[in-house]
Symmetry: C2
Subunit: 418 residues, 2 copies
């Protein structure tokens, strides 16, 4: 049994300080979107901004817009908006390239600050592209650089804390686990890493815009993050990177392109890194993608991340209670932390039939996603979801399970991407 009713959900919506934000997003008719942790929805003001950039800035302004429309400053302007969300000092974030490419830049830069050490530590549950990029770095830099993958031994970060030693050059972790939503205590892990002289690179893909993080207070060294999840920058949006002020002028960027040069338009023959975080830029700014991300981030302008966090935890708690009460006996196992304060902005249940169930849900307009091998993942984006959405989503799940419709073989056909 559960005390949840549709009326109770609606009452919470009526008192939700973030409820007005829903009007800033285009939610398709008939859709309950629990996948903002994979691709955020379209902010309402984006189409106009896009047309302005395409038809006026590009179409009419042409090459003149590099100056007149401030295209050149987009990486740092967008970076400044993100800095506010992740507790980063002004001038320590730029938006550019993909998360994978930025991770390469940051890990190599960090590794070069610790030349006498050999190990890059990560964990088996890290997002695959992060592990792959680290393996690529190890292969590239040769025998002196090894990657060690640690396996989680409990709900906390003990497996990481125990492995940190004098030979650890870099620790590279995703803050919030993409499968389970478990997260590391950023301050404690960073402090322990610094104690043994290691540097930490955080992947904020499932943190930025989802829960409060504080680069400055936690003493983080480097971070990267994604523009198309909770930041709503659209499919393949530019990613971002953060470099702590004390490292900014110490690091040597491995991807030393002209946009990271101190004076790119002098067209000099030798690379001289720009001062500050800008040296981590490489090629020409992705003007359209950065403009969309810039526009999308405006929605966060007056948002208090503590409000986001409170609503996210409440929604997750509600979802767990409802699923466990109404879907008992269907073999769903909660794989996310039960306690909201230990969980990112998602709830995952394991089920051997997870793939088909998620497809059947998607066909009914309740969009979550499936992550191999058996995880049904539901993301909570407090800016555009209501408590009623959560209630309706579980109702839909109940309908699918009780009717057995998910057993239709069409739902087990695997797509390229889920």
């Amino acid at each position: 049994m559960t005390h949840w009713t549709i009326d109770k959900a609606r009452k919470l919506d009526a008192h939700d300080p973030l409820a007005p934000k829903r009007a800033f997003f285009e939610i398709p008719e008939g859709v309950i979107y629990l996948d903002g942790n994979s691709l955020g929805v379209l902010p309402t003001s984006v189409p106009d901004r896009v047309q302005r950039v395409v038809q006026d800035e590009w179409g009419k302004g042409l090459i003149r817009s590099w100056n007149d429309a401030n295209w050149m400053s987009l990486p740092s302007c967008v970076g400044a908006r993100i800095a506010r969300l992740i507790g980063a000092a002004p001038g320590s974030v730029v938006a550019a390239d993909s998360t994978s490419v930025n991770l390469f830049k940051m890990v190599v830069a960090a590794r070069r600050l610790r030349p006498g050490r050999s190990k890059i530590l990560t964990e088996t549950g890290n997002f695959p592209t992060d592990i792959y990029v680290l393996q690529g770095i190890s292969d590239l830099l040769g025998a002196g650089t090894t990657v060690e993958k640690l396996t989680r031994s409990g709900p906390g970060s003990e497996h990481v804390l125990d492995a940190l030693d004098q030979d650890t050059a870099v620790l590279c972790l995703t803050h919030v686990d993409f499968r389970t939503g478990t997260f590391h205590d950023m301050a404690a892990v960073t402090a322990k890493a610094h104690e043994v002289g290691a540097l930490v690179v955080w992947d904020l893909a499932h943190s930025a815009g989802a829960l409060p993080v504080d680069m400055t207070a936690t003493g983080a060294d480097f971070a990267v993050g994604c523009g198309y999840k909770y930041l709503n920058g659209g499919p393949g949006a530019p990613a971002f990177l953060y470099v702590a002020p004390q490292h900014q002028n110490q690091i040597q960027p491995p991807l030393s392109g002209w946009m990271g040069h101190a004076k790119p338009f002098d067209f000099g023959e030798d690379y001289t890194p720009a001062p500050g975080v800008a040296r981590n830029l490489c090629g020409t700014p992705v003007v359209l993608g950065l403009s969309i991300l810039d526009e999308a981030l405006k929605v966060f302008g007056d948002v208090d991340m503590l409000d986001v966090r409170a609503k996210s935890m409440a929604m997750g708690d509600m979802f767990i209670e409802l699923v466990e009460a109404r879907l008992a006996g269907h073999g769903f196992t909660l794989v996310s932390p039960r306690e909201g304060r230990l969980r990112g902005s998602q709830v995952s249940f394991a089920s051997a039939d997870g793939y088909a169930i998620v497809q059947a849900l998607i066909e009914r307009g309740v969009i979550g996603d499936f992550r191999a091998p058996n995880i049904m993942r539901f993301g909570f984006t407090p800016l555009y979801l209501s408590y009623e959405d959560i209630y309706r989503a579980v109702e839909a799940l109940e309908g699918i399970m009780d009717s057995g419709v998910w057993r239709d073989e069409k739902y087990s056909h695997r797509n390229a991407v889920t």
Copy 2:
């Protein structure tokens, strides 16, 4: 004196087989655009495509569009359109990332195929970001990898041919010089490089879509190129890369992200490169940028690059004749090859007052650009320029020089970007 008249220019336009292509582009009122070699103009069909991608594919389809709208195949579909323009075998080009990032990937991959050698050769006149990226690679890989910059000694490629030796791992050249438009004989240079066992990485930034190139016939090993110049993909458009079929499964990508994995959605713990050129992808595809580039490339669908080349040479010849006839005595020195067959799709004149003159021209709607230290650069894009444009452009230049208006101090104020 010159035999050019406005009537003669119009007569050429009337018989120009490419003249109908102009209607596929948005040329701003009052603008003669001689800067398509820096940023191509907006193709007419792009705004609709953009709105479809933003409002329907992203806005309504959301995460489902990775499958339903074929987002995942954009890098290879766009690559296939580019392959046709550069004489590349099917399945040997992908569009992704920036030119600088792709150059890093290709040069490192090539360098790793020649482990016993130490030298990466390039030239002092190469585009700065290419040189900077090479310097970054040398710093990253350590003492065993050096960069040697060769200085042009004449109109041909002798300085390069003479330097190639048994210790050369990789030769990295931009095909068409961005300042002067001089270009290398790709087949001859590649053949000589192969003779000594070196590999060649070509930067096609000023070639793709501007003049016929043939990756297969010239035996090119690797290439990269730009999406926002002659291909008209918009500011910061995705770039592309080419890998010759025989190298595709031999190379080890240094940026080993999930999109280059053999099975990215298995979310496995170890990197296994995808077969073929796809292993050179890294992060999530830039859906919007790729969609625009895809749309822009449709204009080239029925274009014969030999027609483009013929018109480009004719326009360049006409421009040189007109400038030399009408602007004699203003101290302009032709720095591009006089012979059309030796010149890319641009004409450059040196002038100590080049910066101010170009600014004065831009203010009058004739948009060329300035490249340090003293180059006035005029690009010819046969798909959307007319012979009458060329005539009018020189008329405008004449007006500026004869009136002396360029001496106004407002034109010597330097912008961030020119």
